[in-house]
């Protein structure tokens, strides 16, 4: 039987709150117009731990997520609280396979300080997680960083700047995302 891949899977990796998972799922469902499924928790991705750096390699996590993607899955998003790095960068908020299937985000650096403690007066973590999830998944649809400071695909240095942008696409990015989404589904069905 032929299965049309059209779900976005959200996969918790370790101790991620249900509230956050639900919020992320709703936001990405709304922005991408696709049904979202929350997968069972896969636990802390110890396979990606770099003992020397005491950080988790986002490349390895991405590889495993994509490998495990269900046949009905169009995209997959891992959500974790561990500190992520990519081999070239000292840390990342998240990483995506550009024009690919998978993305992963972490709440670790979104909390606002490296000691992993909530900074006083910082916007709710939920809002930052939503934006990061949509942003990274946007890359899997071939969207690049956008010059519009309000657009969710804008990449501004520093959390304060990121807080100023909205959790949705500007009209140009939205059109491009929908175009690429149509192509994506067409190619995979």
């Amino acid at each position: 039987m032929k299965i049309d891949p059209h779900f976005i899977y959200v996969v918790p990796l370790g101790d991620v709150s249900d509230e956050h998972l639900k919020g992320i799922a709703e936001s990405i469902g709304e922005q991408f117009g696709l049904p979202v499924k929350i997968s069972p928790n896969q636990g802390v991705p110890l396979y990606a731990l770099d003992v020397g750096r005491q950080q988790y390699n986002s490349n390895l996590i991405l590889q495993k997520l994509i490998h495990d993607l269900a046949p009905d899955g169009l995209k997959i998003l891992g959500v974790t609280y561990v500190d992520l790095f990519s081999p070239i960068f000292s840390y990342v908020f998240g990483e995506a396979q550009f024009k690919g299937k998978g993305a992963v985000i972490s709440s670790y650096r979104l909390l606002g300080n490296p000691e992993n403690e909530s900074a006083v007066g910082c916007p709710p973590l939920m809002s930052r997680l939503e934006k990061e999830a949509i942003h990274e998944l946007g890359h899997t649809f071939g969207l690049k960083h956008c010059a519009d400071p309000d657009c969710v695909m804008n990449y501004s240095v520093g959390l304060e700047c990121a807080d100023r942008k909205f959790s949705f696409f500007c009209p140009a990015c939205r059109d491009l995302m929908l175009w690429n989404l149509g192509t994506d589904i067409f190619l995979k069905t």
């Binding site: 490349n59 790095f85 990519s86 081999p87 070239i88 960068f89 000292s90 840390y91 990342v92 995506a96 550009f98 890359h139 690049k144 960083h145 010059a147 990449y155 240095v157 520093g158």
Partner: protein, 448 residues
């Protein structure tokens, strides 16, 4: 914003190349990654890169060697060294060799983002600056004629006004003001531009020679005329004939010239058949033709024929605000010709240039800059490069008598102040009558 910025990644680790390329693409950069030095050098030879992210330690050709070659091939390309903590001293050394900055691996994504964005913005500003300068220069240039002064802007307007017509033009102005350049500018923008531009210096030739030069001659017309020769009028057919120093031609030749202008035809020396020509005539003179008419040395009817439209070129001392612009133009011109890298005029030299009376006008200024560029390596045109400073120094040394020193000093001060008697007398602390007496005594004359 950054879509046109091109970044070359050079690293022997495939993972670094892949990750950085992926990230740069998300950041809207056009990117390419190569894994060794020789490939990096080849890539820089083949294409233009705005930025090169270069690993310092690579097997074979290391980052320092690649940096040197990149800077030789494309000095404008910005190179950022990527290094591990242990190699920071080498990276600092690389900055002395021309690298823009260095970043430590693993890279701080925010630091890299800001650095790249800053470079691109800076390059965009440079590009904008170049375009603005170009636009400004274009406003101050017409063909090869340079000038932002009001007098030169008026000249440009006149040139533009006459280019589309076939009107006869008389260009007046002192020697060296660029009369032939104006004539060429009119020709190259006129309907005759596809025809020839034939220039003749009337003052340089004796009367008989000028006639045969202008109208040509038939074989046997005079001793030595062993073949028929076309004159300048015939050679300029369908184009423009430029008669320089037209004020110097004899009355006899003036009559013949007038006849050509009236009849649009002429006969070669020794010839009988009239030859019709379609020529636009542009003439030039440094003489005051109105005075010449009054003195009876120039025909008024020819003057009115030649002077349908007149363009007067101001002397350089009357448009001194153009001196820096002209100096910059000639510096660029002779930098290219002599492969030098002059880029400025020393302040003191510029002050002297602004003070000097430039009897030879733009031509003298051009020669002064050319001389400076020939005799030195730059990057600055200095006082000792300026020939008029040297002449004055040598001459002063040669002045032996007090009277000679006095004469030279009065002459210099008069010239510096454009022969303003009251001003010069005031500065010399003598009254005007005394100054007049000294001018008469030393037989000083104002040079045109």
């Amino acid at each position: 914003m950054k879509e046109d910025a091109r970044v070359l990644v050079v690293d022997d680790e495939p993972m670094v190349c892949l990750s950085l390329s992926n990230w740069l693409e998300e950041e809207n950069y056009f990117t390419r990654a190569v894994e060794d030095g020789p490939k990096a050098v080849a890539a820089v030879r083949e294409e233009n890169w705005d930025i090169v992210l270069l690993d310092l330690r690579m097997p074979g050709m290391d980052g320092m060697e690649v940096l040197k070659q990149v800077k030789e091939i494309a000095p404008q390309t910005v190179v950022i060294m990527m290094t591990a903590y242990a190699s920071i001293p080498s990276a600092v050394q690389a900055m002395k060799e021309g690298a823009y900055d260095y970043i430590v691996k693993p890279l701080d994504v925010e630091q890299l983002t800001l650095m790249l964005r800053r470079i691109v913005e800076h390059q965009q500003l440079i590009t904008e600056n170049i375009l603005l300068r170009k636009r400004l220069t274009e406003q101050y240039e017409f063909e090869d004629i340079i000038g932002k002064s009001e007098a030169m802007q008026e000249v440009f307007e006149m040139i533009k006004a006459v280019t589309d017509t076939n009107a006869t033009v008389l260009i007046t102005g002192e020697t060296g003001t660029g009369k032939e350049l104006v004539a060429r500018a009119i020709h190259s923008n006129s309907p005759q531009r596809y025809g020839p531009f034939v220039a003749t210096s009337c003052g340089a030739l004796p009367e008989t020679l000028l006639e045969s030069e202008l109208f040509g001659y038939e074989k046997g017309a005079f001793t030595g005329a062993d073949r028929t020769k076309k004159g300048r009028f015939e050679l300029a057919n369908g184009g423009t004939l430029f008669l320089d120093e037209v004020g110097d031609i004899s009355i006899k030749t003036q009559i013949k010239l007038l006849r050509v202008l009236q009849e649009r035809s002429f006969r070669r020396l020794g010839g009988t058949d009239p030859i019709e020509v379609d020529v636009r005539l542009i003439s030039a003179t440094n003489r005051d033709l109105v005075t010449a008419i009054e003195e009876g040395t120039f025909r008024s009817d020819l003057y009115y024929r030649l002077n349908v439209v007149s363009i007067h070129l101001p002397s350089l001392k009357k448009r001194k605000e153009d001196i820096p612009l002209l100096a910059a133009h000639f510096i660029n011109k002779y930098n290219v010709e002599f492969n030098k890298k002059f880029d400025r005029v020393e302040r003191e030299a510029m002050d002297l240039m602004m003070d000097y009376h430039w009897p030879g006008n733009v031509r003298e200024l051009e020669n002064a800059i050319e001389r400076a560029i020939v005799i030195d390596q730059g990057p600055e045109v200095k006082v000792n490069h300026l020939p008029f400073c040297n002449i004055e120094m040598v001459s002063s040394e040669e002045s032996q008598t007090l009277q000679e020193v006095e004469r030279r000093h009065i002459e210099k001060m008069l010239s510096r102040h454009d022969w303003n008697i009251a001003k010069t007398a005031r500065l010399l602390k003598i009254d005007r009558t005394t100054l007049h007496k000294k001018i008469k005594k030393f037989r000083l004359e104002r040079q045109q």
